[in-house]
Subunit: 489 residues, 2 copies
Amino acid sequence: MYPDISLTDLHQTMETAWEAFLSFRKTSPAQRAALLRRIAHKLEHSGDELIRMAMQETHLPEGRLKNERGRTCFQLTSYADACEQGIWLEARIDTALPERVPPRPDIRKMNTALGPVVVFGASNFPFAYSTAGGDTATALAAGCPVIVKAHPAHPETSAFVAQLISEAVAETNMPSGVFQHVFGASFEVGKALVMHPYTKAVGFTGSFSGGKQLYDWAQQRPEPIPVFSEMGSTNPVFILPEKLAVQSDWLAEQLAGSITLGVGQFCTNPGLIITTESEGLDAFLQALSTRIRAVQPSPMLHAGISQAYQLHREKGLSQPGVSLLSTADQAPANGEGQPTIAVVSGATFLANPQLHKEVFGPYSLVIRCADQAQMNEVALSLDGQLTCSLMATEADLQAHTKLTDIVSIKCGRLNVNTVPTGVEVCWSMQHGGPFPATTDSRFGSVGPDAIRRFVRPISYQNVPQTFLPDELKDSNPLKIPRVENGRLA
Amino acid sequence: MYPDISLTDLHQTMETAWEAFLSFRKTSPAQRAALLRRIAHKLEHSGDELIRMAMQETHLPEGRLKNERGRTCFQLTSYADACEQGIWLEARIDTALPERVPPRPDIRKMNTALGPVVVFGASNFPFAYSTAGGDTATALAAGCPVIVKAHPAHPETSAFVAQLISEAVAETNMPSGVFQHVFGASFEVGKALVMHPYTKAVGFTGSFSGGKQLYDWAQQRPEPIPVFSEMGSTNPVFILPEKLAVQSDWLAEQLAGSITLGVGQFCTNPGLIITTESEGLDAFLQALSTRIRAVQPSPMLHAGISQAYQLHREKGLSQPGVSLLSTADQAPANGEGQPTIAVVSGATFLANPQLHKEVFGPYSLVIRCADQAQMNEVALSLDGQLTCSLMATEADLQAHTKLTDIVSIKCGRLNVNTVPTGVEVCWSMQHGGPFPATTDSRFGSVGPDAIRRFVRPISYQNVPQTFLPDELKDSNPLKIPRVENGRLA
């Protein structure tokens, strides 16, 4: 129904994107903001047909999809605002010093678009991290044309949203090459998109193997390009002893909810729960168990994901020293994900790298550490993470400064007494983290700072006012913040 | 005299750096600024011995070296100021919205140090891009320990400066692992430094082959890391027709000076001069020729560089269609670089990739384009550049908007009526550019923004005030600029 794009058509697509780039890069932030707002408006009014289509393709419930569509519209408008506000432009002006020996010329700098950006949509967020999602919105805000490769798990939803975006592009008088949508279930299409000389950056959300492959291709190009793969994370949650003693029920409720939210199909799903042997532990495990048993299994996104979940869940449970704590009482139907909690000792976890791997789905492994020193060792042994969470009283935090130090080196977001799921769209959000959570810890994929992934600085030395971009003219017609002669103005 | 470090000692060096990182990353910007100022102070008062040593090792003249040392001190103090000013921290605060459904937690974000940084010094800047140079200064400002591999062409100068830095580290009560200095002329040492798991970023200034090799190693690690290689550039200078007609003498003077400055051993040396056939061209070429003939050949940095220059110069001159315009009248002594201007037609340049390559030294190739269209074609055919320059009247700029568009996609710095040599240390400077000028066009190696190469963002969600870094506390004790609830405060 949606055949892969041919390599000839793909080349034509990239030519069209490049041609569009030559004019799109020179549009004003206000023009690009208008485009983003137009897309948001159309998406907001896209009606029930789109939701029904997405429900059918993703098995996600109506309420969740409606919320996610709303979130996607919020992202688009909030990035539109940030685009105009212009912090991301990082404008800097140093005026001439003709009397200095040697004289200093007038120099001005701002960020400028990198070029066409290829976006690989995520299966688990058909709206917010797919066709009109965060990567598309921030690339457009930066002035980069976007080529979306539809996720093969929701092609109709993707095509529907793509149509809305193309209409918005036309209605705001942008060249049609500003946004293009292609299909490609094969390896070859993905590779050809990443390797094409006109591709200047790549956005991806998905598995480690997929994201790392795109990264490796991009580095093998004659001209390497940035790849922002947001891959995976076990999002360890450390429960400290006093907190465990005083709030085991609350912890069980929060964690059971977070582990099973969206059938565990979030990149911030808490896959590891790390505790020390202490008096509250048994009560906590019992409370967690009770809550997990009561969860209704639900259908996962698609057959590939539910089969992978089953496989990795069984692999996890069959490791020596791992025992099952609890599963949902109700047996899962075909394609459903079975909520599951396993338990292992700290020593066993440290000795078995397999247990460090993400199990994508409603699965979490409780690690019982002998003591605080072993908990620190476990923390040290972890890979880079999107998030780490500490469940802790203030006294716990005082008593565990070494642990806090370790996890702050490991993660992009450090939570205290909040579960990792739920990613706010705001300036202060870092959705990213040290490898292998992402391929570039210096950037994140949520919040206005994500625009900066798709730009590079350019300096103008001794360029007459008339020929400077508006962003850098003396009169500051766009009213953006600028560092002028060393001071933030 | 300076044997390569053993792999065992190298591993110990990296262990020491990592240990230092754990405390250095938590020092305040003021503490790190004090360290940078201490280094600057010691370097400023390092006396004539250091200059004599550098003269002997690099063959650079006394005046140049004294200036470069002054520039290096200026870099250190200006990055110290920027470190405290805190724009690079990119602090963002979104306060809790408990009434919202769902409630928003308090979230705060700032930049934090990446980890130990390996710096490969440059041969052509024994001070400003070497041991205490821009990479070292910005990495220290960011909170990253630095391991400098001495450039084999000036080991004594490097060791002398390293000793000053180590003293400054001790005097400001930092752990000694904050700065370490190693020797290694072999391939293996460079590779082991880049591949070591505790290395989190690399700074390099030098040749394409060297910089690209470091980049490739870094990408082949289990955990890829950022490599900032500033490699090479032909820094094309476009002379537009009206400017040529009215100011051929001034152009010849400016260009002859820029081409031969420092025996052409600058990364911003103008290696291509691109003109169209027009009435002023012959007068310009004659004026340029006269000035080049009068230049005294001078010794190059070391035997390797002067041999490479001779080789690449001859290779350039022997290409079909290339003719010699002029050389310095005085024949070069052994080890000296012979100032040389060659000429070629636009069509020949377009057809021969060899002519696009940098010839490191006082060599420039004049490209005579048939017309404006061919000049655009030549511009389009160029690799990514550190700089492009337009020599142009306002009427020329009006008549060449397409050319301006092309070069603004190709370069990190666009000059009008200034030669590319001379890199100001200021906020507005972008010293970097699209590949192959550098391996990461999103960053530059000069100016306070260069600190940002060595940091990544971290978010703190729902973290109590006491446990937040000072940068993010409500009271803003460091008085840094922050985006608070979406507004720059």
